[in-house]
């Protein structure tokens, strides 16, 4: 049995799906196996299965395991420690708490992604408090909480702090509704806190006093990220004291209130950092100070990730040159630097894999990137909001396409693009997994040929077989959607804006993209027929969002009636005179029924 156990474990790790098919745990009979042979069809004991399951950590794999049979479902559920809920309304908190008694880490995502762009009205929902209320009773030993696009108030944070004494990680991304007071209660009460990461949240009010709330004896911090708290006052002594005590600190991302000299002081205390968010990289200092800073950076030999650079003092970017040769990730997306400075920097960064920039670097800057950064995997070029420069265009795009063949993900905001340029990228960067092109003028054609951008995006889906995420822009006809439906078989997320000609476009996508999970559409001429053509698809998708399309209330009602396991939520402005068009419809699968915390403007059908 022991030998068999070892075999089973190995098989499970390598290709357990095949094992699942083969092993019929409850029905060993029916096969002509001689008793002397070790049969793989003998039932596995519960203990053994539990032991095997410990090695399976990936969500998708565990989900598959739980579908094999009821016994495995129960076993898997009793052992699962990390749960990821992609839509907080798809399941009730009670159900999660009941099914997974050993839950230690919970990830929740709330609002639809278009909430980031102000397309979802405030107070839409995604409240965290109901979840915390349930979990505080059933799972007081919760260790990790990761929330994205959810609303939580300070009293919710206080409840988290008091209910989960073992809390080790709190990660808030794009959340809102709270303030630094709530953070102070977390800091004060969670004695074992290791990770406190805040990214792109929108706080009600901020003051620097929360840093003082960390107990004097706190030594447990491994990562502290408060880049998005732009309070101008900061208790620097408290921060300094905290940093010097936490010897295990690996990630430190500071906010704008920390100046360059203060950064130097902090770095001297923690040279073991792996990820650093510089505060504001200013005000400027003298040459001697710059040299000292350069030395200080040089001592941080393990630093691999840099971000921040909120306001770069002129000419000071050179102090990070000693670090560049090991740098793997660099986020300059808030710094309007020019191509000269960028090329000085990237020419020394051969290992860089993730580079986020602002389009002030223009095409010349991208040319420099393409020359030096051959390992580049993730590139983002954000537009300068003042739009005073000329930004980037298809020239920079082609440079990147030709110079960085290992590209996996690209987000590119540009003023103009051509099909030819997109084609170049499609042919060169065949490993692309995420392609997001945003031509900033809605429905703009290829500026050299005045043709729609169909062929460009068609080339992408044809050549990049691993494509999982796609965002469209520019003038697109139904042909583009036909290409997508035909070729993008692994596509999971699709974002459509100002594109398409008729319902046929969306029908192509819904029929062809079998892996589709999230579909979000705005301002496109898709109506009821398109919506209903996906009737058989929505239950295998996480969600569908359509806003400012031609969907009517009747279509939504029809959908809701025929698919009772889908939640169809409609927002329709009251002042539209007698129009049956809906402003937005949000369709998602749910086992919890319609949500009870709908605001008045959301209709559930």
């Amino acid at each position: 049995m022991k030998r068999k156990a070892a075999e089973e474990e190995q098989e499970t790790q390598v290709d357990f799906k095949a094992t699942l098919v083969v092993s019929k745990c409850k029905c060993p009979t029916g096969e002509d196996e001689s008793p002397s042979k070790v049969s793989p069809l003998l039932p596995l004991s519960d203990d053994l299965m539990e032991h095997v399951l410990k090695f399976i950590t990936d969500h998708k794999d565990r989900n598959t395991v739980s579908l094999v049979c009821k016994a495995w479902n129960a076993l898997e559920a009793s052992g699962r420690q990390r749960v990821f809920v992609g839509n907080c309304y798809a399941v009730s908190a009670q159900r999660v708490a009941q099914r997974f008694p050993r839950l230690k880490s919970l990830s929740l995502k709330g609002k639809p992604r278009f909430a980031d762009f102000d397309l979802v009205p405030r107070n839409w929902g995604a409240f965290v408090l109901p979840w915390i209320n349930v979990l505080s009773e059933s799972h007081p030993f919760l260790e990790e909480l990761r929330l994205k696009r959810m609303t939580l108030a300070d009293d919710c944070l206080e409840l988290i702090a008091s209910a989960f004494p073992q809390l080790k990680a709190l990660v808030l991304t794009s959340c809102d509704g709270f303030s630094t007071d709530g953070l102070a209660s977390i800091a004060a009460n969670c004695r074992h806190l290791r990770h406190l990461e805040l990214t792109e949240n929108i706080l009600n009010h901020k003051s620097g006093a929360w840093l003082r709330a960390f107990p004097v004896s706190c030594t447990s911090l491994v990562s502290l990220d408060f880049e998005d708290l732009d309070h101008d006052d900061i208790d620097f002594e408290a921060l300094e004291g905290l940093i010097s005590q936490c010897n295990n600190l690996r990630t430190l991302k500071l906010n704008r209130a920390v100046s360059l000299l203060q950064l130097q002081l902090l770095l001297a205390k923690c040279p073991q950092l792996i990820e650093l968010g510089t505060g504001s990289f200013s005000p400027g200092v003298s040459r001697e100070e710059q040299a000292k800073l350069g030395d200080c950076f040089g001592k941080c030999s393990q630093l691999r990730t840099l971000s921040g650079f909120w306001v770069v003092a002129p000419g000071h970017l050179s102090v990070i040159h000693p670090l560049c040769s090991n740098l793997v990730s660099l986020n300059l997306s808030y710094s309007p630097i020019c191509d000269g400075e960028l090329s000085d920097l990237v020419s020394q960064c051969p290992k860089i894999q993730k580079l986020w920039l602002m389009d002030t670097v223009e095409d010349k800057g991208l040319e420099a990137v393409a020359l030096s950064c051959k390992e580049l995997r993730d590139l983002r070029v954000y537009p300068d909001h003042t739009r005073q420069g000329q930004g980037v265009s298809e020239e920079g795009f082609i440079h990147i396409a030709e110079g960085c063949p290992n590209l996996r993900a690209i987000l590119y905001f540009c003023n103009q693009m051509t099909n030819a340029a997109v084609d170049v990228m499609a042919r060169n960067c065949t490993d692309l997994e995420s392609f997001r092109l945003c031509i900033m003028e809605p429905a703009k054609p290829d500026h050299t040929t005045n043709a729609p951008m169909d062929e460009g995006f068609g080339a992408i889906v044809r050549h990049c077989k691993a494509l999982r995420r796609l965002s469209l822009s520019g003038w697109l006809t139904d042909k583009a959607f036909e290409y997508i439906g035909q070729h993008a078989k692994k596509l999971e997320r699709l974002s459509v804006a100002f594109a398409g000609e008729s319902d046929v476009g969306l029908q192509h996508v819904l029929r062809g993209c079998l892996s589709l999970k999230k579909l979000e559409i705005r301002d496109s001429p898709f109506g009821d027929m398109a919506l209903l053509s996906g009737l058989h698809r929505y239950e295998s998708m996480r969600s569908l969002w359509m806003s400012s399309c031609s969907v009517t209330i009747t279509g939504c009602q029809w959908l809701a009636h025929h698919k009772p396991r889908l939640n169809v939520e409609v927002i329709q402005k009251r002042d539209k005179d007698n129009s049956t068009l809906v402003d937005s419809v949000y369709v998602y699968r749910s086992v919890a029924g319609h949500r009870g915390d709908r605001p008045s403007f959301v209709m559930a059908l």
């Binding site: 949240n201 000419g315 309007p336 630097i337 420069g389 429905a443 965002s471 008729s502 319902d503 031609s550």
Partner: protein, 274 residues
């Protein structure tokens, strides 16, 4: 689902009206309303600079159902953007925050990022710093300075001096009254207005004009005195001139910026005679 189901726009599996309460679905098979909806053209066809609502009507093609046979379909055909729609009434120099007025959430930059970059740019420490980069610095007097001069002048460009020219951190309250002057360009019938108070140097002016008149689109360039446009071509297609308070037309770029900003009354982009 097979394609034939939708070939004629109407699936054959519609339920009969009895199965759905009349309250919810009064008309079946339902018809889409005749929709006349122009959603395109916000960035393309906004001729009226005052248009700001997201449902303003535009000059792009109206969308109508194609035939009466399409009982269930809303087969709205969308015409391609016409080239004449390219000459849109783009944003004023002052409207930098909403590049395509009327379009909520476009381009798709998260509201956090937008708010952050906006507040960062109002806190810029050095007014002579170009907004697009630091490689070439422009001294307040208007000429380019190099590194050594920068170090020496770093002390001069102290916060006090900067703050007097800095845009007030709270964008709602302007520090000085704005000074709009008319800008005309040879060959373009529409004049624009530019607020000189928000401009900090000749280079900035050149960029601003390029943006206003969309030079990058037409591959043009304009010389702004000694500081040529960022295309840096000696033989630019246009020349910038201004009318001063005495009524004379002068070449831009020969006077210090401060003086120019005080005396310029109108700007004119003249076609260069080669």
């Amino acid at each position: 689902m097979s394609r034939s189901l939708y070939a004629r726009g109407c699936p054959s599996v519609f339920p009969d009206p009895i199965s759905i309460p009349a309250l919810i679905c009064p008309v079946l098979p339902f018809e889409s309303p005749a929709v006349e909806r122009d959603y395109m053209g916000i960035g393309l066809g906004v001729k009226d600079e005052k248009a700001s609502s997201s449902t303003a009507s535009f000059s792009a093609a109206a969308l109508m159902p194609t035939s009466a046979d399409d009982l269930c379909g809303s087969h709205l055909k969308l015409a391609p953007p016409s080239s004449s729609a390219d000459d849109d009434g783009g944003a004023d120099g002052a409207d930098d925050d909403e590049p395509l007025s009327g379009n909520i959430g476009w381009p798709p930059i998260s509201s956090y990022r937008k708010a952050t970059t906006r507040s960062l740019s109002t806190k810029e420490p050095c007014p002579s710093r170009d907004t697009i980069g630091m490689a070439t610095l422009v001294h307040p007097q208007g000429h380019l300075i190099d590194d050594q001069e920068f170090d020496a002048s770093q002390a001069d460009l102290s916060n006090d001096e900067c703050s007097s020219r800095m845009i007030n951190p709270s964008p709602k309250v302007p520090t000085r009254k704005s000074l709009h002057i008319k800008v005309s360009m040879d060959g373009t019938p529409i004049m624009r207005k530019l607020d000189l108070e928000t401009i900090q140097g000749y280079r900035h002016l050149s960029l601003e004009l390029h943006k206003l008149f969309k030079f990058y689109k037409r591959n043009l360039s304009c010389e702004v005195g000694a500081h040529s446009s960022f295309k840096e071509s000696g033989d630019a297609d246009f020349l910038l001139t201004y009318k001063d308070k005495d009524g004379d037309w002068m070449l831009v770029g020969n006077t210090p910026w401060e003086l120019f900003a005080r005396t310029a009354r109108r700007l004119r982009i003249m076609k260069k005679v080669k």
